[in-house]
């Protein structure tokens, strides 16, 4: 263990364990600070390990005694290193933020997040997420994967005493994540059985010789499992429930680090272990990604719960990552290696960018939640004067998430578009038909993302407060500000000088596509596969410069305050404002057929006359249509079967004896016949 990578990763895992012990043993007063500090150190060490691995210092270890039968096999290559570094960076922000977030605010409505369970499990969750990309055998991978799922489940249900909806969300998450685990387990176990070994090296060597049917089955099974972890439509149902209900720093960890590992799994199994596959695999990935991107952002556009909006935006962004992976796979199958490398680079850069801005957005949303007790955008507003730091943080995140220049999301979406456009002539007719559709999906999702985040920022933070809680909001403690500040700094660095990630990304892509360098240039990004260029730094400098010049030119005497235009009706009040619901109404009408909103109108007439109205109630709700159409019938059928099965056990002893007798004779007959 002489390598930097190994030492840093071991230090990181050690610090996580120390943090878990601190979380379990320290007295309540110092518990969040102690555990948070250790977790932050663990995250920082993981960043070091990941960066070292990305720059070529790979590392592997074999610990036969740690797990019975199989042992633990670890290996960090540049691809795993990328995900370790991202997870570590998110963990640093979330851990520092968690110190302040766990402390109950002065006026009482605390979340009880400084309890032993949350404080001890959070570092274990981080450690499990670091182990997943470091695992180098099927058993190690699955153990780490399940550890991650269980730890996150415990954290999701942390606030179950405060809200009933937490329990439901936890149940959905538990079921979906375990169905996903079953799929991955089946796929990887099948692969290991066919390869006569379970280490990744062995699988890689044996994958070439497997029959197409086995390879296809392994890919589909693992893809389903990984897609459900990444929140890909239609396996996303747990995500918009679990992310809003989890404590906000846990939401950040889940949404910015855990879902990435779904993408990691697809790259690792699809590209690395199986070494690529036929066209239909990648069309499946691409279609799932495109549908996810569109449906996710459409739901986000009409969502009014701030954290639910962010959760659906995660579905969108993971969809974009899958579009990149699918395009990369298609191009690789067609033999076009430079464009394939560009598509994979774009996908991985989007993973990094999404992690940065989604961490920031969830942390800012948590800060709002802690200060006001509200997640509903229709009830917020006017936070800019009361919580300036949080508002600035959310603004940076929203700019990035809407993929506009000066934000980091712009860079990776630009790369993704370039890879799709450049591959028009590369993959024959299939890519000529697919790529335009993918570009259209990407473009529409980018446009809707702009509307979504204008809504979230404009109605949530600007304008005037719509409720007393929003009116009484106060800025969050300093540690939360530091957590958001680190995430914001990462966003800005990625937005202005994205080139610093290029060597690391190239290393990660070269794990699956040796010898390809997709992205070059320092200030101006140049592509190996296309002749287009862009320079985020120059754009930012010109815009900021122009704003500064105009500002200097426009400086005048003091501005005069004046009333708003109120049509001569007297002062406007907060109820006259546009809310998030009204803001999204035109979009909801345009996409009525997809969203199928449920509206409920009840008119109660007066007793004396049917023509005079006493009251009108109107309820409108935009639910998740996929959940309603796809999952509700299954859940209802399962419940019906369970209900029917109860009749088997009605408490009569005679019946139970008859069951025993029947089974016994049945077994005897079976034995007599088969022997």
């Amino acid at each position: 263990m002489t390598s930097v990578t190994g030492a840093a990763l071991s230090a990181s895992l050690g610090a996580s364990l120390l943090a878990a012990v601190a979380g379990a043993a320290l007295p309540r007063r110092v518990r969040p600070a102690g555990a948070g500090l250790c977790t932050a150190v663990a995250g920082a060490a993981a960043v070091v390990a990941g960066v070292a691995a990305m720059t070529g210092r790979s590392w592997s270890a074999w610990l036969p005694e740690l797990l019975p039968l199989a042992g633990v096999r670890l290996a960090v290559d540049p691809l795993g290193g990328l995900f370790i570094a991202v997870t570590g960076a998110v963990a640093v922000c979330a851990a520092v933020y968690g110190v302040g977030y766990a402390r109950p605010p002065r006026d009482g409505h605390g979340h009880g997040l400084d309890g032993r369970t949350v404080q001890a499990v959070l570092p274990l969750f981080v450690a499990a997420m670091l182990l997943v990309p470091a695992a180098a055998s099927v058993s190690t991978f699955l153990v780490a994967w399940e550890l991650m799922a269980l730890a996150s489940l415990l954290l999701v249900v942390a606030e179950h005493r405060h809200r009933a909806s937490v329990g439901t969300a936890g149940l959905w998450y538990a079921v979906m994540t375990h169905l996903g685990l079953v799929a991955i387990l089946a796929g990887l176990a099948g692969l290991a059985a066919a390869a006569h070994g379970e280490s990744f090296d062995r699988l890689r060597a044996a994958a070439e010789g497997l029959s197409p049917a086995v390879r296809g089955a392994v890919f589909v099974a693992t893809f389903a499992g990984f897609a459900s972890k990444a929140g890909i439509i239609p396996l996303h149902v747990w995500l918009p429930r679990a992310h809003p209900e989890a404590p906000s720093h846990v939401s950040a960890l889940m949404s910015a680090a855990m879902v990435n590992l779904g993408g990691y799994g697809i790259v690792r199994v699809g590209f690395d272990l199986l070494g690529g596959g036929p066209v239909w695999w990648w069309l499946l990935v691409l279609a799932a990604g495109a549908v996810s991107a569109l449906y996710g952002i459409l739901q986000a556009a009409v969502a009014t719960d701030l954290k639910r909006l962010l959760a659906y935006s995660t579905c969108e962004n993971m969809g974009l990552v899958l579009v990149g992976l699918g395009a990369g796979g298609l191009l690789l199958t067609a033999g076009a290696r430079p464009p394939a490398a560009l598509a994979l680079t774009a996908a991985l850069l989007h993973v990094v960018n999404h992690a940065a801005f989604k961490t920031l957005l969830f942390l800012a949303a948590g800060s709002v939640l802690r200060a006001t007790g509200l997640r509903d955008l229709d009830a917020l507003g006017g936070l800019r004067t009361r919580m300036p730091l949080t508002t600035a943080a959310f603004a940076v995140g929203a700019l990035a998430a809407s993929a506009l220049p000066l934000g980091n999301g712009f860079v990776s979406e630009w790369l993704l578009l370039q890879s799709l456009i450049g591959s028009l002539g590369e993959g024959g007719t299939i890519s000529a038909v697919t790529m335009p559709v993918a570009v259209a999906a990407l473009a529409l999702s980018a446009g809707l993302a702009v509307a979504t985040f204008v809504k979230a920022f404009g109605t949530g933070f600007l304008a005037r407060p719509r409720t007393p809680q929003a009116q009484a909001a106060a800025e969050s403690p300093a540690t939360m500000g530091v957590g958001m500040g680190v995430a914001a700094a990462c966003c800005l660095a990625l937005a202005l000088v994205p080139a610093f990630t290029a060597p690391g990304l190239a290393g990660a892509v070269q794990v699956v596509l040796p010898g390809q360098d997709a992205l070059t240039g320092q200030v101006t990004l140049r592509l190996a596969a296309a002749s287009s260029t862009v320079s985020p730094l120059l754009i930012a400098v010109s815009v900021v410069g122009a704003v500064a010049l105009l500002r200097i030119a426009m400086i005048r005497r003091a501005r005069r305050r004046a009333r708003l235009w109120d049509c001569g009706m007297g002062p406007l009040n907060a109820r006259m404002e546009y809310t998030a619901t009204s803001f999204a109404e035109p979009l909801q009408r345009v996409f009525d057929d997809v969203l199928a909103p449920e509206t409920d109108l009840n008119v109660t007439p007066l007793a004396e006359s049917a023509y005079l109205v006493e009251s009108v109630t109107y309820r409108a709700r935009v639910g998740d249509r996929i959940e309603r159409r796809l999952y509700r019938p299954v859940v209802a059928a399962a419940a019906a079967v369970g209900e029917a099965a109860r009749r088997l056990a009605n408490g009569s002893v005679h019946r139970y004896l008859a069951y025993g007798f029947g089974t016994f004779t049945g077994v005897l007959i079976l034995l007599a016949v088969t022997r």
Partner: protein, 323 residues
């Protein structure tokens, strides 16, 4: 690129910015004059928008109650993005020093950034008008995006690049390409989205202040004095840049693309003049068209945009299957 060429490129880009900055109110004046004459009115003259701007700039700046920094910064951001876009788009030259910094995607995203700033400012006022305008503008923006990117896609296929200079140069070298189905379909699609982006009839009516119909005007209702001057000026510049983009993507002749710095600078005045004529003709045609058309209902706009999207999609398909 040699040093003298990049100096020449900088001079040319600066000239572009100055032309757009000074000429865009005149374009608005020309369009209003064309409209007035066709409607049988005398019109206020081509210089009237400049006179309006001068009047507004002399007035006191107003901060409506309850508005914050976003409201005050939005006109600056809107104007800055329009100015930067004017420096990038090939108006008089394909050798702008910013050409490599921003391709067609970046230019449209940059213009969208200005729109977003204005929409946030409108929400910041906390009035129903502001929210209404912002909501409608964002809906249109979201639906316009696919068509823009698809048109860019179609145009970039023959040039092999999305950089504006490369697309224009490739059209200059192969002029017959302008008459190809790809180019024609993309031109129609892009023209529709330019109308939508610039907020002209039939998507939005810049002359209305009726709450049922306004989009852009509802967003800027609270601005007065110098702030309003900036918003009006920026809107005029955006219109000019967008029309210029259409003009030079599909008819780039006259643009200065010489090999030596001296020749490029010598061709500059002619290039600027040709550009002014092209944009004036396009603007005049747009204004004349507006006289004979009514504004569409807000919820009919998606149908129009869907139509233009299909054309852009056909353009991309044609670029592959007819190539």
């Amino acid at each position: 690129m040699s040093g003298s060429m990049s100096v020449a490129g900088t001079v040319e880009a600066a000239a572009q910015v100055v032309l757009v900055a000074a000429g865009s109110p005149l374009l608005v004046g020309v369009m209003r004059q064309v409209k007035a004459r066709l409607e049988g009115r005398a019109g206020a003259g081509v210089l009237q928008p400049w006179r309006d701007l001068r009047k507004l700039l002399r007035k006191e700046a107003i901060t409506p109650d309850g508005t914050g920094p976003v409201f005050r910064a939005a006109p600056l951001v809107l104007t800055a993005t329009a100015l930067v876009a004017a420096g990038i788009v090939p108006i008089a030259t394909t050798a702008s020093p910013l050409d490599g910094a921003a391709d067609l995607f970046a230019v449209t995203a940059l213009l969208a950034l200005g729109t977003v700033a204005l929409a946030l400012a409108a929400l910041d006022t906390a009035t129903a008008f502001g929210g209404m305008g912002a909501s409608r503008e964002m809906t249109v923006l979201a639906l316009v995006e696919p068509t823009i990117l698809m048109s860019v896609f179609a145009l970039s296929v023959p040039a092999g690049s999305t950089n504006l200079g490369a697309i224009v140069n490739s059209t200059l070298h192969e002029p017959q390409r302008v008459a190809s189905p790809v180019s024609l379909l993309a031109a129609v699609a892009l023209a529709v989205v330019v109308i939508a982006e610039a907020g002209r009839i039939p998507v939005d009516n810049p002359a209305t202040h009726l709450e049922l119909t306004m989009i852009h005007e509802a967003m800027v209702l609270e601005y007065a004095g110098p702030d309003l001057a900036l918003v009006e000026w920026a809107s005029a510049m955006r219109l000019t840049v967008l029309l210029g983009l259409v003009a030079n993507l599909f008819a780039p002749w006259g643009i200065a693309s010489a090999d030596t710095a001296a020749a490029a600078l010598a061709a500059l005045p002619l290039a600027l003049a040709v550009f002014a004529v092209k944009v004036a003709v396009l603007g005049g045609a747009l204004a004349a068209g507006e006289v004979f058309m009514a504004k569409l209902r807000m919820f009919r706009v998606p149908e129009l945009l869907a139509g233009s999207f299909v054309m852009a999609l056909l353009a991309v398909a044609a670029s592959f299957f007819l190539a």
